[in-house]
């Protein structure tokens, strides 16, 4: 497959504007300026591009929620969500560090299509190097006339502001991100109102993932059909960055067509299992919050939004975590639960109180103090956390608990009965 998002990241200094322009970056922006804005959005819809942040909402549809004639008093804003912080996810980092101009181009195309007067790029605090690259790249783009006043002589003004977060997972939630961007505590907001009605500073706002925005230049340049031709079917189109980690020979970020089979990704792209004599045990296909898959569920599984959902998990951010048979699933889950307990903002009762409770029970089991009834308690608690909070963090904490306990029940039961791991025992 022709690489679209990472086509020239291996050359010398790919993050500079000279190299980027030599590889055709900003040609899409030039083409789009002057095009009819609604037609642009229609072409994004036609491309089938779905949000790469994890939810998979059609990008063009989201853009069409924005007002057609924003007033100067209530301007429209675009936010690029670069707060990539789901455990296992590190795909956006490649774009941010190696191909920042493609992202800037995508942001400006999107801003143009939605009549935005300012675009914000919110980058997670831990991405220091990427932030420095972006600060520089935005200045380069500004000098070249792609950002700022009178972009490419069109009379359209749109600034681009890069804002570094302070390293909180919750600030990747779109409305918490807005609070944080406004200078407040990052707490998810109640919906309604939705961001397109009242988002950043109470103004109409669309927020998109780094990878999603980076797909837009290709759609403008080559047409929605060319984009839709990549992928498994019309609901799962385009290229996709897969961040593979865990027990494979060559973990990393790989640009592949949407719908590549999971086993092909592991065997062919990543060189197979880290230790060939150890069998595959489980895969988390979309970041730590999604339900885990057992080895047998990984067979014949195309990696895209719909296929993974049909298999009972979620495609999420395509952060594929591979675990071989030496993995202690109880400890994995205890660690995942620690993460969500640590990152819960604390607003909603079920999440604030439930996430640390889950963690405490799991840590106790992992320490050998498991009791009869713990598994039923975990499952019941997780069930009561799901769908009862403002944002999906409680669901993110609950889903792995339910799936781990369901799918690897014997390991949990062994721990509770014997006070130690079944894996190390074997």
């Amino acid at each position: 497959m022709e690489k679209i998002l990472t086509s020239f990241i291996d050359v010398e200094a790919p993050h500079t504007i000279e190299v980027a322009r030599a590889h055709g970056v900003y040609d899409g922006l030039k083409k789009s300026i002057g095009m009819d804005r609604d037609e642009l959005i229609a072409s994004f819809k036609a491309s089938g591009l779905r949000g790469r942040g994890g939810a998979g909402f059609p990008c063009g549809v989201k853009m069409s929620f924005m007002p057609k004639d924003p007033s100067p008093q209530r301007p429209s804003y675009l936010i690029c969500n670069a707060d990539e912080s789901e455990p296992g996810t590190f795909k956006d980092r490649v774009i941010l560090e190696k191909n920042p101009h493609l992202l800037i181009e995508g942001m400006m195309i999107s801003s143009y299509a939605m009549r935005c007067s300012c675009a914000f790029l919110y980058i997670r605090g831990e991405y220091g190097h990427a932030a420095r690259v972006l600060f520089e790249a935005v200045e380069e783009a500004r000098k070249a006339g792609f950002v700022g006043k009178n972009i490419l002589g069109s009379g359209w003004d749109c600034d681009l502001v890069v804002h570094r977060g302070a390293a909180a997972y919750i600030c990747g939630e779109e409305t918490a991100l807005m609070d944080s961007l406004e200078g407040g505590r990052g707490n998810p907001r109640l919906k309604p109102p939705f961001p397109a009605q009242a988002g950043l500073y109470g103004c109409p706002t669309t927020i998109n993932n780094v990878e999603t925005l980076s797909c837009l230049p290709y759609i403008v340049e080559h047409g929605p059909e060319a984009f839709a031709a990549i992928g498994r079917n019309e609901r799962n189109t385009g290229p996709k960055l897969f961040a593979v980690s865990g027990h494979v020979k060559t973990p990393g970020v790989f640009e592949l067509p949407m719908g590549i089979p999971l086993m092909e990704l592991i065997e062919d792209v990543c060189g197979g299992m880290l230790r060939p004599d150890k069998k595959l045990k489980a895969v988390i296909p979309g970041g730590s919050s999604v339900p885990v898959l057992r080895a047998e569920e990984c067979q014949d599984l195309p990696l895209d939004f719909d296929a993974v959902a049909e298999r009972g998990s979620m495609f999420g951010s395509a952060a594929v975590m591979v675990m071989d048979e030496t993995t202690d699933m109880v400890k994995v889950l205890a660690r995942i639960s620690h993460f969500y307990a640590h990152e819960s903002c604390g607003q909603c009762t079920p999440c604030r109180e439930g996430t640390p409770w889950l963690e405490k029970v799991l840590q106790r089991i992992a320490r050998g103090g498991g009791r009869e009834g713990d598994l039923a308690l975990l499952d019941d608690m997780a069930a009561r956390m799901m769908g009862t909070t403002i944002c999906p963090l409680a669901d993110a904490a609950a889903m792995p608990v339910r799936s781990f306990v369901e799918k690897f029940r014997e390991e949990f039961e062994y721990y509770i009965k014997h006070g130690r791991s079944m894996v190390s025992a074997g």
């Binding site: 604390g346 604030r352 109180e353 106790r364 009561r384 769908g387 403002i390």
Partner: protein
């Protein structure tokens, strides 16, 4: 006006109502912690989750606006299970120290635990621990372990006084309510956060550990601190006011009171030693109330009416002022009547008025109707200095509490030039010092009566305490004088109200019988004044939000 269905009942509710407002307006209870009708919606406690047909998942009733045909279930199996779940989560790290918690007995957490929770816990881990006694400001203590992080207190400070001293710090289960460096919780309304705290996390140091709330009797009363006349409850036990809490009254103070009013009773208690006691005649030969009253009556009846002045008080009740006006227009006919001002600071946009008297409007109305109006005190001062006053009959400035260095309406020099002064007062002032005959009146909280606030709202207060010292309600003292000077006896206090309605046109329509139980009633012709009392700016927006229904 959409028609909705709640638990099978079809209801037509106002546009823009939330599910919770619609339910509550129709007597259907939906539990809630973080929602407060006077504050913005936070939606964080999750106890108000309900099921709505066609909604993919349970929705919070406090932030879901009704729409035509909405079918809501607030008591389904699923909803009850969700509530049990939220209650269980809330109690996971809660210390369950109800036996020593001041909130016990009026705690929402207790109430819902009883109604919606389980008597067993499945939590067997170590609870989170945190500070139990952190001073947020001079009037408020914070107990982290009891706090359920509903953020009512934070929203209150942002939205009512607009001072925003409180914030949520840290994250997740370690979240805590706190203040910013160098900015303690110290605004004129800070005590309200204790009232709206649904649990025992915020407490008043002055009430902490002093009484179980169920031993207190709430006596409805009216604050005497300023001309707002906030509706309050006096929490009384063994003839002592333990605390003052706001009594919700949308026409006057909504859900709030200021800190000065909240600590009014404490001020009276703390300065109790200084209170005036007994009746004092002009010489040592006059001993006891009867003798002093006889002497005063004699002085009053023998004085040349043109050289008599009467000083009313905007701090006296309607009944007391009416009887004083009866004296002035009857036995003392011809005497000029004056009404002093007691002002301090400025009006704020919320509750506090610079006029520090609860019944100015009532006094003005009565004096206007019975005495042709009251004259300025400056004129009285001048007359005193010119030696034109043989007798001054006065209700003192300390009737409602200590005068605390307040500027006296009449100078000591002028008072010294009066021939004689007959004064009725509760706390000492320049006037009571200068009085030749002086009667100790009961103070605020010890007598009943009516007051009219600056906006024309008539309210009644009940006597909460039995007077302990040697003093009498001012009305009784005036009635004794009146009886001695007039052919007809003074009416009993309870009967005065009808006479007032007969004498004062603006009060003709007042339904006195219902007053104590209701939130008071507007005097006729004061609509404009009532309009004027509506706060502006941020507070008004907030009230509008609270008045959605």
């Amino acid at each position: 006006m959409p028609t909705i269905t709640i638990n099978g009942r079809e209801l037509t509710v106002p546009d823009g109502s939330t599910v919770l407002q619609a339910a509550h307006a129709n007597g259907i209870d939906i539990p809630h912690f973080c929602y407060h009708e006077g504050l913005s919606v936070a939606g964080n406690c999750r106890i108000c989750l309900v099921e709505i047909e066609k909604f993919p998942k349970p929705a919070i009733a406090c932030n879901t606006v009704v729409s035509e045909g909405m079918v809501i279930s607030t008591e389904s199996e699923k909803v009850q299970d969700l509530r049990r779940g939220v209650m269980e989560f809330l109690l996971v790290n809660h210390p369950l120290d109800c036996p020593i918690c001041d909130q016990a007995g009026e705690c929402t957490l207790q109430q819902y635990s009883y109604q919606h929770g389980s008597s067993l816990t499945r939590f067997e881990e170590e609870k989170e621990h945190g500070p139990k006694r952190r001073e947020l400001g001079p009037h408020v203590l914070y107990d982290w372990e009891r706090c359920i992080k509903c953020t009512r207190c934070i929203r209150f400070c942002e939205e009512l006084p607009g001072t925003g001293e409180l914030g949520l710090f840290l994250r997740g289960v370690r979240s805590e309510i706190g203040t910013f460096p160098g900015r303690p919780l110290d605004n004129p309304y800070s005590g309200n956060v204790v009232d709206i705290c649904p649990v025992g996390a915020l407490t008043l140091p002055e009430f902490r550990f002093r009484s179980r709330v169920w031993f207190l009797t709430d006596v409805p009363s009216v604050c005497a601190g300023c001309s707002r006349g906030c509706s309050i409850n006096l929490g009384v036990l063994r003839n002592e006011i333990y605390r003052i809490t706001p009594r919700t009254n949308h026409a006057v103070n909504r859900w709030w009171i200021c800190d000065e009013g909240r600590f009014w009773a404490r001020k009276i208690r703390e300065q109790g030693e200084t209170r005036l006691q007994g009746a004092r005649g002009s010489s040592d030969q006059v001993v006891g109330w009867s003798a002093a009253l006889d002497e005063a009556a004699a002085v009053l009846s023998s004085a040349k009416k043109r050289r008599v002045r009467v000083l009313a008080s905007p701090r006296a009740t309607l009944e007391e002022t009416w009887l004083l006006a009866k004296l002035a227009s009857g036995p003392l006919e011809g005497a000029k009547v004056h009404l002093p001002r007691h002002e301090r600071g400025e009006d704020d946009e919320i509750l506090i008025r610079k006029d520090k008297a609860a019944n100015r409007l009532g006094a003005e109305l009565i004096l206007e109707s019975l005495c042709g109006g009251a004259q300025d005190v400056a004129e009285l001062e001048e007359a005193l200095l010119n030696g034109e006053v043989d007798l001054l009959v006065a209700l003192g400035p300390g009737l409602a509490g200590p005068v605390d260095g307040e500027k006296a309406p009449l100078s000591a020099k002028a008072l010294a030039r009066a021939g004689q002064i007959v004064a009725i007062d509760a706390f000492p002032s320049a006037l009571s010092e200068a009085a030749s005959i002086r009667f100790a009146a009961s103070s605020w909280g010890e007598s009943s009566g009516s007051v009219i606030n600056f906006a024309g709202r008539v309210q009644q207060m009940e006597s909460a305490l039995t007077p302990q010292g040697d003093h009498r309600p001012a009305y009784m003292i005036l009635a004794e004088l009146y009886d001695r000077l007039s052919a007809e006896p003074a009416p009993a206090p309870a009967m005065v109200a009808r006479s007032i309605s007969g004498d004062v046109a603006a009060l003709a329509g007042i339904n006195w019988v219902d007053l104590p139980a209701s939130a008071g009633q507007d005097a006729e012709g004061f609509d404009a004044a009532v309009q004027a009392c509506r706060p502006t700016g941020a507070a008004a927006k907030m009230i509008a939000a609270g008045w959605k229904l």
